[in-house]
């Protein structure tokens, strides 16, 4: 064995050892879970597959549909390299050997595709080594493997015009059960073309690939050491890493720069919280309006349902406000470090209150229609939440320490106030 391969093996062993040392309990849990799932599959799923006597067309087209979607997703939506190589290898090993490594990894990928194809064709056709089984196996394998080759090409050459090949493959997959041999021949032709192109013609986009591999390596190291702080930071970084190029700004930026910044930041980093709040609000709205839920003992009283609804509005309000406060905090903190903001405190508060107030008022209007509350009550509720927003943001700018200590008490007081005054 050549020296560099020996070193790579030693490195892999060390890395695995470190991973096991640092993540022993999660790995053990995973092994136990895998064993349970594997056992269940062998006991329950295997006999079902054995009972399948002929090709099930419904399952067949379902699997094909899923594979077409998967292929589209990895080639045109979330394009990631199919082959992963350590960044250190990219730096220290010469190009010819890197190409050898890529070829070896490709063989590994092909083996995976073969195994996956066997499983899928067994699900469709049962375990019968007949012509149909082999045909389905071949066609699934060709799709999976060509998808891998295509995403490798698209990743490095940044070409999206291969959508034609994907379309052709998808059509072939749909008609393949009817025109057997013709489809296989076309599929093999495309696969061979991609193979020759990827390993003979394609130039690797070294800068992009190295950058991506470095990032993956950072994440892997953080995972190996179970460093949750770093993992959290990388998760944030990953969210904004693959942004689409967009070099246009609306005039909105020049009128309301802080809102522009806040909406981008919340969309990229904090939208999950707001979506969660919205889902909670929808569920509580459903509980309030649909008699189906009222059979549950604790939901029989209207007051409790109303409180839940109000609580969910309050949750959306808090989560939105929390996202805004985080943004405000980040801007103010960075301003003290040198990323100055030449805007007065009052204007900062004014700009930051636009989004939460819009959401609160929107909710208020929905509630007015759903709950049939009087407009005065809704206005009162909205007014309380608007005042709370302004107070919260103002305290964040002026007396941050006070807010850190008393935020929870303030929130409860506002919630109870809204509850008492609106009902």
């Amino acid at each position: 064995m050549q020296e560099y391969r020996k070193l790579l093996c030693v490195n892999k062993i060390r890395e695995t050892k470190r991973l096991i040392e640092n993540m022993l309990i999660p790995i053990l849990s995973l092994v136990v879970a895998a064993a349970v799932v594997g056992y269940q599959i062998v006991i329950n799923f295997f006999p079902i597959i054995r009972k399948i006597n002929a090709c099930n067309l419904r399952i067949c087209y379902l699997v094909f549909g899923f594979l077409i979607l998967y292929s589209f997703g990895v080639c045109f939506i979330n394009v990631k390299p199919a082959i992963i190589i350590k960044p250190a290898s990219l730096f220290f090993i010469q190009e010819k050997r890197i190409r050898q490594m890529i070829s070896i990894k490709y063989i590994g990928l092909t083996l995976k595709d073969i195994i996956f194809s066997i499983i899928l064709s067994a699900c469709i056709n049962g375990i019968h080594l007949n012509r149909k089984f082999l045909f389905i196996l071949l066609i699934i394998f060709l799709l999976l493997n060509t998808t891998n080759l295509m995403r490798w090409k698209i990743y490095h050459a940044n070409q999206r015009r291969d959508i034609g090949i994907w379309l052709l493959f998808s059509i072939i997959l749909v008609i393949s059960l009817k025109y057997f041999f013709m489809c296989i021949i076309i599929d093999i032709g495309i696969w061979m073309y991609m193979l020759v192109y990827d390993f003979g013609v394609l130039e690797i986009n070294a800068l992009k690939y190295e950058d991506e591999m470095q990032f993956l390596e950072k994440v892997r190291i953080a995972q190996n050491f179970n460093n949750t702080v770093l993992l959290d930071q990388y998760a944030k970084e990953k969210m904004v890493r693959y942004l689409q190029r967009k070099n246009k700004v609306s005039n909105f930026l020049y009128y309301f720069p802080l809102i522009w910044k806040a909406q981008i930041s919340i969309y990229r980093l904090g939208r999950n919280w707001i979506i969660m709040g919205m889902i909670l609000f929808t569920i509580c709205l459903g509980i309030y309006k649909m008699p189906f839920y009222w059979t549950l003992p604790f939901l029989q009283q209207e007051e409790i349902r109303y409180m839940l609804l109000l609580g969910s509005i309050f949750a959306v309000f808090r989560l939105t406000l929390r996202s805004m406060v985080q943004q405000l905090d980040s801007i103010l903190e960075k301003a003290t470090d040198g990323l100055f903001i030449p805007i007065s405190e009052n204007r900062i508060v004014k700009q930051f209150m636009v989004i939460p107030i819009t959401i609160v008022c929107g909710e208020g209007i929905i509630m007015a229609f759903v709950v049939n509350s009087s407009i005065a009550q809704i206005l009162l509720g909205c007014a309380i939440l608007i005042c709370a927003t302004v107070l919260n943001l103002w305290l964040e700018v002026k007396y941050k320490n006070f807010l850190v200590k008393k935020d929870f008490i303030l929130s409860i007081a506002v919630f109870l106030g809204a509850l008492i005054l609106t009902k």
Binding site: E237, V240, N247, P257, K261, K334, T336, G338, L339
Partner: protein, 251 residues
């Protein structure tokens, strides 16, 4: 003097960092803040950007104490030593955001992108940039602001020779525009190229300040003495050398 630092003292966690700092800077002048690691250079700059408050003493810009100047009238821009950026915004969005905050500044985003070769990196987030490119972004952001005083903490860190040359030229142009510039640096030969005045900081104290000629006269050194040699002499590591220089001068 446009900027005046008067009797500034600062202690962190009861440990004194800066003692009786007094200096001034004129408009259209580049001042080099020079000193070894831990001398208090970065702390001085942090006081000047209001990151921290001095225990006593005043920092005056124009006629106002900096702590009485409102954030919307802040005449200072800053190139930090440790990059400060928004993690979620791309390079291009950073530039546009800062430009939107300072529309009155005539410097355009496009001109800065060209000047600092940022074109290839516009769609990247700052954490994906190399050290040099990140430094270029910090400089570009600082130049996009409306300011009278430019403070820079090790601005040449990570820059390649071409970018160093460009930054030097930019600083010289800013000087012509009557900006007041204070640069903290370790690169003495670079500082010697474009600084008008020097402040030598050692162990939290100013050990010498003035133009190079004034310092040479005070230290009784000859005209050919480089800034590096002055520095070594001032921090006490070049006593023998300084002695030789003084002898030469007497002769």
């Amino acid at each position: 003097m446009y900027v005046n630092v008067e009797n500034v003292n600062f202690a962190y966690d009861k440990k004194p960092i800066l003692h009786d700092i007094n200096f001034g800077m004129n408009k259209g002048e580049i001042t080099g803040l020079i000193g070894p690691n831990g001398a208090g250079k970065s702390t001085m700059l942090k006081l000047m950007i209001k990151k921290m408050k001095p225990n006593n003493g005043k920092i005056i810009i124009g006629d106002n104490d900096i702590f009485s100047i409102k954030r919307e009238n802040n005449p200072v821009t800053f190139i930090p030593d440790i990059p400060v950026y928004y993690e979620e915004l791309t390079v291009w969005e950073h530039l546009q955001f800062i430009k939107a905050l300072y529309p009155e500044n005539s410097v355009t985003v496009d001109s800065l992108i060209r000047e600092f070769n940022l074109n290839q990196h516009l769609n990247k987030i700052p954490s994906a940039l190399s050290k040099g490119t990140l430094q270029k972004l910090m400089i570009a952001l600082a130049l996009l602001r409306q300011y009278d005083v430019l403070l820079a903490d090790e601005p040449f860190n990570g820059l390649d020779p071409a970018q160093t040359y460009k930054l030097k030229n930019t600083l010289k142009n800013l000087k012509k525009q009557d900006k007041t510039i204070l640069i903290s640096t370790h690169l003495l030969s670079l500082a010697e190229d474009f600084c008008d005045r020097y402040i030598f900081l050692y162990d939290g104290r100013i050990v010498e300040q003035g133009t190079k000629t004034e310092i040479l006269q005070k230290q009784q050194m000859n005209k050919e003495t480089s800034l590096e040699q002055i520095y070594m002499s001032l921090i006490g590591e070049g006593e023998h050398y300084a002695g030789v220089q003084k002898t030469v001068m007497c002769e």
